[in-house]
Amino acid sequence: MRPIRPTNQRPSRKNGPAAFLLLAALAGTAVISPGARADSASDHRAGMATLTDLKAAITSIVQANDSFATDRNVYHRASQRAINALEGTHGPDYRPAAGTPGDALGAIGHIDALLHRKGTPVWAAPLDSAEANMRAAAAYLLDASHARSLIRFQLATSRALTYLEVARGRPTEVGALGGMEGTLANTVLGVPAGAAVENGCSRPSSAPSYGVHGGYLAWIAVPASAGTHSLGETSGGHSLIVEHGVIVLPTAAAALVAKACRTHAAATPEPAPRNTAGPAAIPAMAIPTPANRAPPALYTKAQAAAGARLFAVTCVACHGANLQGTAAPAVAGTDFLKTVEKNGWTLEALRYLVFNNMPFNAPRSLSPSQYAELLAFLLASNCYPAGSKPFPAADDPAFAQLKLGPVPGPHPNANQFGVCPTG
């Protein structure tokens, strides 16, 4: 087992130069890989602190809502306190005057610290999701913090709460929908400091103990003797198994672990069981996670070549033959990717702009398949790889989840503007 050491390798989400494609299935792709095992007490403490801050933010809003106060400052302050609990004292929207029900790092600060490491523990994906949901909530809370009427406060906070509840999640769920509770209940992040850890593929040889495999927590074992025995703070179990004088509490990840153990293939990726229990509205709120970091192939070479020919006729007057812009902005390379990263553009944002607003003096004047060719050309020029599937002429909802950015890796053929050739 390889210990996980924090390094400076993993760029922080906010300023990271390598925020390339953030793509994932909605329920989160759970992968059991060998070697990823963290039993560090500080990780556990950080995970618990995240949940505490998150709950404090929720409580702050719920209490204000229940107060029937007539003073709008009560609502404004509650929203600001919730932001403070989420963002911590270093957050962009932190305002000390309101005080904080959380700690100095805040829920997002704890997650950032947890994710700042080499390697990708199994809990990284759901934590990434939880963070994204908290940031979304913070944006609504900011509106709530200067809402001019109660109805506006309630509208903004009810949106914020939906995100926060997804971030909090539930212990019976593994992956993005599990949120903080699910992660603490079903991964090594939930194993308390100093606890005995055993192989999750076997049954316990002692109790109390925690059965761990591939980063997931499969069960918690409690002695069946008389007395009070402490448990992990949260537990995803549905049932209790009493055997050989021990009570075993299988977690929600138990089935996943069992499958991985059976195939002896800790290295083979296994998707998590898809969630069907959640209310229909919730999956849409879950913000996807960077589980798959390889840039996807989104277009064909032939399409990009056709796009290049179209560009030279319809777009070149404003965007330049070198794509660096003459009367309009750059559309590929380092300068363009600066805009993309700064504004957090998804493929959908780029697609929308090109399909609906370009060419600037004749929007929507090309056919959908021509626009698809132009998108292929733009992706190719920005060093995204070609594949066998063409860029679709029709909209694809998955594009809203695809964050664009510099494609990692060396691009020996890129020119001085960072534009890749399409030929």
Partner: protein, 557 residues
């Protein structure tokens, strides 16, 4: 670049503030600046100074009119090229060159600044910035004051260069949100005689990207804010009730064209841009003040006070903002001499108002108008002019000799579509639709409007749009550049074209006049058409269009 990074990080001033300031002043004064840049009284007398051209539209009154008479109707036919200058940049030139004591300051699309010898076009110094472009690449010129050249950039910086050397003096990010705000306007220097305060007036371009407009007075010493006036009233201010809910926050009404000032009353006349989202009126029912309006601000005190406003187009849904810089002049209406202010909008209207009260005197539709009261729909519909039609930012000029307003206009039509909702995406257009698709022929005209009646004295028709503004000379000529690239001189009385020259580029910049050693020059910039591209333009050998060029003309040798 290093200084810019430092300033961004807010650590440029490590020494106490007082020390820092004096360092800046000392840098600016490196070479005796009295002769490099105009002072407050030069600005007050700019209109009658035929040698220099120190404000974008000649003087505070915003009227591109020169006293010079060397070039006149009988000799203009001999006008020939004195020199050309090819800047090392791409993109259209929309600049009003600033000319002072034989030096001409020109800016290009990507914020290069060139100091040229105004007699030869030779480069004295140059400064290249190449900022990150978020939308339109254009720079309309510099402000010259206090030993410095001031200009705003496409990434929201205000920069001061030493006018004699081109060295950077200071550089500051002065927009609030660089995702949707930038500068294309030239900073306008002003000295408030009441408070003794010097300032640079600069409006921000943010009216199609989800910003809220403002005009700001900056301290020329260091770029600090003296005052800021928001063009869309916030909660509690009069006019806020013309915006439902929070729509005022992204209401636009950018102040991006030019600042006209009456120094006698310290009144600032500003035209404000279109409301946002541009093409989706349904989300912002109401008049949407002060979008598409002219405002008169009292700037004598510590903060501007609104004296009056006149809204040309309440609740605009076609991006038809009044982009022509207001012209302040004394003209005859009926038999009465009155203080007037003229303006024009992209819907093709020319407006004349009483400068003191803001009451409408006359309104002349000057380009083809069609279906103007139908809002763009999901399925789309036609209206004229197109967003780049009507009266454009290069504006017009008033001739006191003939009591005539000269305004170039364009006939372009568009097919407009809206969307169901307007979603703000940082760094993108915030339109609630799309800019109109060009339809039909794109043509233009030069209009001579009799101020006494609001009726045309003459009109000259072109088979291409006529963006090039107007320059009137006391000798009876009006110059204007056609998008096709022809620089033309008309007889102010008859409208006959007396001289024409093909600059080799498409003209989207105004024309100016100046003198060196007593000799009169006429200057105009041209280049690629960029965002003003239309299908009718002659094909250029280069895909991106003709190279940018500045052309100066003179008589004899």
């Amino acid at each position: 670049m290093a200084l810019r990074e430092q300033l961004k990080a807010g650590v440029a001033c490590l020494a106490p503030v007082a020390l820092c300031l004096s360092a800046v002043v000392w840098l600016g004064a490196g070479t005796a600046f009295a002769q490099d840049t105009p002072n407050a009284s030069d600005f007050l007398n700019a209109a009658s100074d035929a040698a220099n051209w120190i404000l974008p539209h000649k003087s505070y009154s915003g009227n591109p009119y020169t006293n010079a008479t060397e070039i006149n109707p009988s000799n203009v036919g001999n006008l020939h090229l004195a020199w050309t200058f090819h800047p090392a940049d791409t993109g259209p030139l929309e600049v009003s060159p600033i000319i002072y004591n034989g030096t001409m300051y020109v800016t290009t699309a990507h914020d290069h600044v060139y100091a040229l010898d105004a007699a030869t076009g030779k480069v004295k110094w140059s400064f290249t910035d190449n900022p990150h472009v978020i939308a339109f690449a254009a720079s309309r010129g510099v402000g010259l004051f206090d030993g410095n050249v001031y200009f705003g950039t496409l990434d929201g910086h205000l920069i001061a260069l030493n006018a004699a050397t081109g060295e950077k003096v200071w550089d500051k990010v002065t927009v609030t949100d660089t995702a949707n705000s930038f500068y294309t306007m030239a900073p306008v220097p002003y000295h408030n005689p009441t408070t003794g305060q010097d300032m640079l007036l600069l409006g921000v371009s943010n009216g199609d990207w989800g910003g809220r407009g403002n005009i700001t007075a900056f301290n020329p010493k260091d770029g600090s804010v003296i005052w800021k006036w928001h063009t869309v009233p916030g909660p509690g201010q009069p006019g806020n009730n013309t915006w439902p809910g929070d729509t005022w926050k992204r209401g636009g009404a950018a102040a991006w064209t030019g600042a006209t000032i009456d120094p006698a009353t310290q009144t600032l006349y500003l035209n404000l841009g279109n409301p946002q989202p541009d093409f989706l009126g349904a989300v912002r029912p109401g008049a949407n003040l002060y979008s598409d309006s002219i405002v008169a601000l009292d700037i004598s005190g510590a903060k501007p006070k609104l004296k009056w406003y006149y809204q040309f187009i309440p609740h605009d849904t076609h991006d038809w903002d009044p982009v022509m810089q207001p012209i302040l002049f004394s003209g005859k209406v009926g038999n009465q001499e009155r203080q007037l202010v003229a303006s024009g909008d992209k819907a093709g209207n020319v407006w004349i108002l009483d400068a003191t009260t803001g009451k409408l005197i006359s309104h002349t539709p000057a380009s083809f108008q069609f279906n103007q009261n139908t809002e763009p729909s999901l399925a789309g519909n036609y209206a004229c002019p197109n967003t780049l039609g009507g009266v454009e930012f290069e504006g017009g000029a008033f001739d006191p000799a003939t009591n005539t307003l000269f305004v170039p206009t364009q006939n372009e039509c568009g097919f407009w579509t809206s969307t169901k909702d307007a979603v703000y995406v940082a760094g993108q257009f915030y339109l609630g639709g799309a800019f109109p698709k060009l339809v039909g022929p794109d043509t233009g005209q030069m209009n001579a409007i009799d101020v006494a009646t609001g009726i045309f004295n003459w009109r000259h028709y072109f088979n291409l749009p006529n963006y090039g503004g107007a320059l009137v000379t006391a000798s009876g000529l009006v110059f204007s550049g056609n998008l096709g690239g022809q620089e033309n001189a008309f007889d102010t009385r008859t409208g006959n074209i007396l001289w024409s020259y093909d600059t080799g580029g498409f003209i989207t910049a105004p024309t100016e006049s100046y003198e060196v050693n007593g000799k009169q020059y006429v200057v105009v910039a041209s280049g690629p058409a960029g965002n003003a591209s239309i299908p009718e333009l002659p094909q250029s050998t280069s895909a991106s269009g003709p190279a940018p060029v500045v052309s100066a003309f003179t008589l004899g040798h």
